[in-house]
């Protein structure tokens, strides 16, 4: 019985994360169209209907998926058979599994069990995330190379170079966060953000303790998703990118991988800089406001509030990233590389030094 329950809980934790990321990624195709429509004073996609119901065009992702599945699956004659088919799966796989170490809630206590609300509890969770992000490069490189098309190859190499420079900056910018909260465990980092400054008024979120790292991480993170303003690897409408030779659902999977990476970067930003599942002033017993007002809540309600806060924060970050995507024009390729290597990376290193210095001062108080 208890083995069945354990298996069920493990399955539930994985299923929650997987369905959350997958569905949010699919929904983003709709968000992208609707949000751009609102920003540009248009109506946006609203035609797909089932029995006359249109629900704000929410059926468009469904219609897109059916369209992609029904299209011809074309493969160039000289393409590398196996790698050409395998590349989109690699891209989607690493984007999907990356979310596993991001905690979506604190420990849930039900019927004498303690369930960590996280797909995988890893002591090196942040390194795991980083590793999965860096492995995503292979899908892109394989796609560019296996297409037997020189333009695709060039696109794949642009993508690889851009993603490497972005990941270097991501790795260097999260070092400051690791130093402040003293752990590589994502759950510990989020718990550490539950403390507060200024007599309890200011939550010790990463964006407060590491403002520079937040800006650097977000910039590098957006670059890692290969979306506008850093979309020189693909540039669907003007430049030829690594997936020119792809059609149908395989093409869709590359687009999907970009959306999934957006979700992962939003999840990482939330966990590292926006307090993860922390609700301001909400402790393990209930709300404690700085002026002494308290409101105790049952455990289940608190956990639900925290999971809800996490989902809201992730969605808010995605909204913000979309806002950037529809506001800024594309960086030229050399500008993007220069930004990564000469801007983000040295600043991240400076942030590490500054953080270490401030931590020493703080401890010496």
């Amino acid at each position: 019985m208890s083995v069945v329950a354990d298996l069920g809980i493990a399955f539930g934790r994985v299923a929650f994360v997987m369905l959350f990321v997958l569905n949010l990624g699919g929904l983003l195709t709709w968000v992208e169209r609707k949000q751009s429509a609102i920003m540009q004073d248009r109506i946006g996609a609203n035609r797909a209907s089932i029995f006359g119901f249109r629900v704000l065009g929410l059926f468009h992702p469904l219609a897109d998926a059916i369209k992609m599945l029904a299209k011809e699956d074309f493969r160039p004659a000289r393409a590398d058979r196996f790698l050409f088919g395998f590349a989109p799966f690699v891209s989607v796989f690493f984007a999907l599994v990356a979310f596993a170490s991001i905690p979506f809630g604190d420990t849930l206590r039900v019927a004498g069990r303690e369930i960590p609300l996280q797909a995988v509890t890893l002591n090196v969770g942040i390194l795991y995330l980083f590793a999965m992000l860096s492995l995503g490069v292979y899908g892109v490189m394989m796609a560019g190379w296996s297409s037997a098309n020189n333009f695709a190859l060039l696109g794949g190499q642009r993508a690889a170079a851009l993603m490497i420079s972005a990941e270097i900056a991501i790795g260097a910018s999260i070092m400051g966060v690791i130093m402040i909260y003293g752990s590589l465990n994502m759950q510990d980092i989020v718990r550490g953000q539950g403390r507060s400054f200024l007599g309890g008024w200011l939550p010790a979120w990463g964006i407060v303790t590491q403002p520079l790292a937040f800006v650097l991480f977000l910039t590098a993170g957006i670059a890692a998703t290969k979306r506008i303003p850093f979309d020189t690897p693909e540039g669907e409408s003007e430049i030829i990118g690594y997936f020119v030779e792809y059609s149908g659902m395989k093409f869709g999977m590359f687009a999907m991988a970009d959306f999934l990476e957006t979700v992962v970067i939003a999840g990482m930003t939330t966990s590292l800089f926006l307090g993860g599942w922390q609700v301001p002033y909400l402790g393990p017993e209930g709300f404690h406001l700085p002026w002494g007002w308290a409101w105790s809540l049952p455990h289940l309600v608190i956990v639900l509030l925290q999971v809800g806060a996490f989902v809201v924060k992730v969605c808010g970050m995605i909204f913000f990233m979309m806002l950037i995507r529809w506001t800024l024009p594309r960086f030229r390729y050399d500008q993007a590389m220069r930004l990564g290597w000469l801007g983000l990376f040295p600043l991240s290193i400076a942030n590490i030094v500054l953080t270490g210095f401030l931590l020493l001062l703080w401890d010496a108080r």
């Binding site: 790698l83 002591n123 795991y128 860096s134 292979y138 490189m141 690889a160 490497i164």
Partner: protein
């Protein structure tokens, strides 16, 4: 259960290592090496060495091999461009050298099995690894960093001379 997973991961590791050696296509070989490095990381993870596993994936699979694959894609021409095998004569040496390596391997592995099994007491958590690196192994650790720095400076000098 753990044994079954170990056998599966070990099979993937050996299979991908064979793929690396046997594939003619350099890109395929490099990608097999990535799979091999990943499965070795999985073995580290099963032994509780979490930090080592993560570092293995990030440094080798995620960084060094990306550069390898990148370089192969840019620099190594396809089969139709190089024509017949240019290393035909070097292949003659492969058999005796391979045999020598095999004998050495048998000797080394045989000795290890005859002696006491390697005891691992240290834990693989990041703080344990960090503590060891900055106490018992501080000198080799710093030496490695100097070596890497020297290599980096050397690369910069070479690259600048060309330009």
């Amino acid at each position: 259960m753990a044994r079954a997973v170990f056998l599966l991961v070990a099979a993937v590791a050996v299979g991908s290592a064979l793929g690396l050696i046997l594939r003619r296509n350099a890109i395929h070989g490099a990608l097999f090496l990535v799979v091999n490095l990943g499965s070795i990381a999985a073995l580290y993870l099963m032994m509780g060495a979490e930090f080592l596993a993560a570092a293995q994936v990030i440094v080798y699979a995620g960084a060094i091999m990306v550069l390898f694959v990148f370089a192969i894609m840019v620099l190594i021409p396809g089969k139709e461009e190089i024509g017949p095998d240019p290393h035909r004569r070097a292949r003659l040496a492969a058999l005796p050298v391979g045999a020598l390596l095999f004998v050495l391997l048998v000797l080394v592995v045989g000795r290890r099995w005859a002696g006491p099994a390697a005891t691992t007491t240290a834990s693989g958590t990041p703080d344990a690894v960090g503590r060891l690196l900055f106490t018992s192994y501080l000198f080799p650790f710093e030496l490695t960093s100097v070596l890497l720095l020297a290599a980096m400076v050397g690369v910069l000098v070479l690259a600048r001379r060309r330009a």
